[in-house]
Symmetry: C2
Subunit: 340 residues, 2 copies
Amino acid sequence: MAHDERRLEVLRAIVQDYVSTNDPVGSKALAERHDLGVSPATIRNDMAVLEEQGYITQPHTSAGRVPTDKGYRLFVDKLSAVKPLSVAERRAIERFLDGAVDLHDVLTRSVRLLAQLTRQVAVVQYPTLSRSAVRHLEVVQVSATRIMLILITDTGRVEQRVVESTVDTDAEAVAELRGLLNSAFSGVRLVEAGEKVPDLVDTAPVHLRGLVATISATLLETLVEPGEDRLVVGGTANLARGSALDFPGTVRPLLEALEEQVVVLRLMGQVDASTVLVRIGEENAHEALAGASVVSVGYGSTGRALGGLGVVGPTRMDYPGNIAAVRAVARYVGHLLAES
Amino acid sequence: MAHDERRLEVLRAIVQDYVSTNDPVGSKALAERHDLGVSPATIRNDMAVLEEQGYITQPHTSAGRVPTDKGYRLFVDKLSAVKPLSVAERRAIERFLDGAVDLHDVLTRSVRLLAQLTRQVAVVQYPTLSRSAVRHLEVVQVSATRIMLILITDTGRVEQRVVESTVDTDAEAVAELRGLLNSAFSGVRLVEAGEKVPDLVDTAPVHLRGLVATISATLLETLVEPGEDRLVVGGTANLARGSALDFPGTVRPLLEALEEQVVVLRLMGQVDASTVLVRIGEENAHEALAGASVVSVGYGSTGRALGGLGVVGPTRMDYPGNIAAVRAVARYVGHLLAES
DNA sequence: GCTTGGCACTCTGTCCGTGCGAGTGCCAGA
DNA sequence: TCTGGCACTCGCACGGACAGAGTGCCAAGC
């Protein structure tokens, strides 16, 4: 079946040429640029079969062929080798990320780096709160009747809430409360901490019980329904590059989806830290992303993903390169967050 | 000088028509749509003068006239009345912003709201750290040799840094340190707090002196060189609306500038809370913004601006409407931040 | 049976010439 | 000072011609 093999080789060549030139690719050009060992006429026959099978299509008669979503899918699954990053790129990642001072800084730098490496739109999700643990709970008295609760997670995220209290509170009570909360919750996963809140009210020393009761609702809310997960987006300027060619109508729906965040966050919720997920065109099951591909992976040192990151671009993208870049950045971010 | 007056009336009509229709406007259309009381021929004479003075220009012979930057400037300064927001809009602002739980939430909502009201790109600056005061300084022991410093400002911003310590530290010392820092810095402006750091090292109790010395460098850095000011951007999808018409080449440089942030932050540094600043086209003195206008104002309750917010769009924008929207949102954000 | 060269066919993108309409500038008259 | 009229200038849309790219098919060769 040298037959089938060559046909796949033709598909690979089509994808590679189309990705790099952005022109529908014809049989003659293929024969010239690749050593397929056969004439254009033979390639034409193969192309006819590939088209019938749905891997490629022609925009119009007398134009070259263009891969379909299905064609890219086959390419990604079977035809593309992992493209390792160059030493220089690897070093650039380290240099770029090493100066980060806190979580926000790490994520901002990552998103820029990723956008630069791939020349696509990059997205990085904040570490999911539901998978994080409490590092510290801080209580600050803002005024006589207002208390601020600050949650710091093991990944460095900070969430804050202000609680109105009907009773006056003194500094000593605040200190006690702080101790109470931290001995109860430090190191505990957020979900589990949430479950423990009712217990806390019951077991608190009598003189603190009122205070604990007052803050418990807000505390619970902070722990179990923490502000929606956030997303850092970068490199949107890359959308304005070949837009007319890459995105049929306009980039507007895509920009809207990126700002809406919720769509992308749903995608990011599906990643795990070991395998890179590639969603091509219609596979995205969301209209705004139908013309786009998403390459994403989870980051996190221990195997469980703390969050996801990835790139969004036209289906006509350099999959091997983007997969490699996304994986490399994710790995490095994972290391960084494990350290801090 | 009824002369000059009518001529200005003509300019105003041109700006209004051009903003709403996006077509170069001719003398005939002008005479029809506005009650200027004179014939198209007269208007043509006025237009010739306006063109000579540099207020309007024609894209090519036999096209209508289009306002120049100078024309918009005159319109903004002299010809446009403040357009008060409708009650419904005012109520929408309140409804939209009232549910915010923390600073990030306030700013994110504001930027969305502003983008929606103006149909332009909206930007909101985080409260400038240099103008904020310390609300609370928190010290958390992360491990035996690592301490995390957390700065909470009176505007609700949170900055965090990890300090490596060579000496082991116990919980009691941390608590003492926390007390020391807060009694020294609570309520003090960041800049001034930074100046007090050396004193602190000298006056600290002997048993804490080593610890204080260890953290003082990081503390100083956190107080006086706090992470660059941040910007929240929203509504970039609005750039993809009439782009071909509004922005000559492409929106790419503009998107890049918005992501770079530094250019926009510099603009925001110039605002104050009382007057709305309008920069039109070339006035922006930055290439990427040369084809755009920026409407910005500071927010903050007390008169001193905590930060800036505004919109960026094509020079062909609804100035009165955008000015009103920007001012209204800034006022409301100021109230919200003063409360919390 | 697979491959190849040749050939006719189809379609797009481009160039050019034409006609139309919008809008102007100028001038003479009110 | 305003107004109506008129000639003039362009840009743009339309349509036909043309070149070029690429295909599909067929008959011949290995």
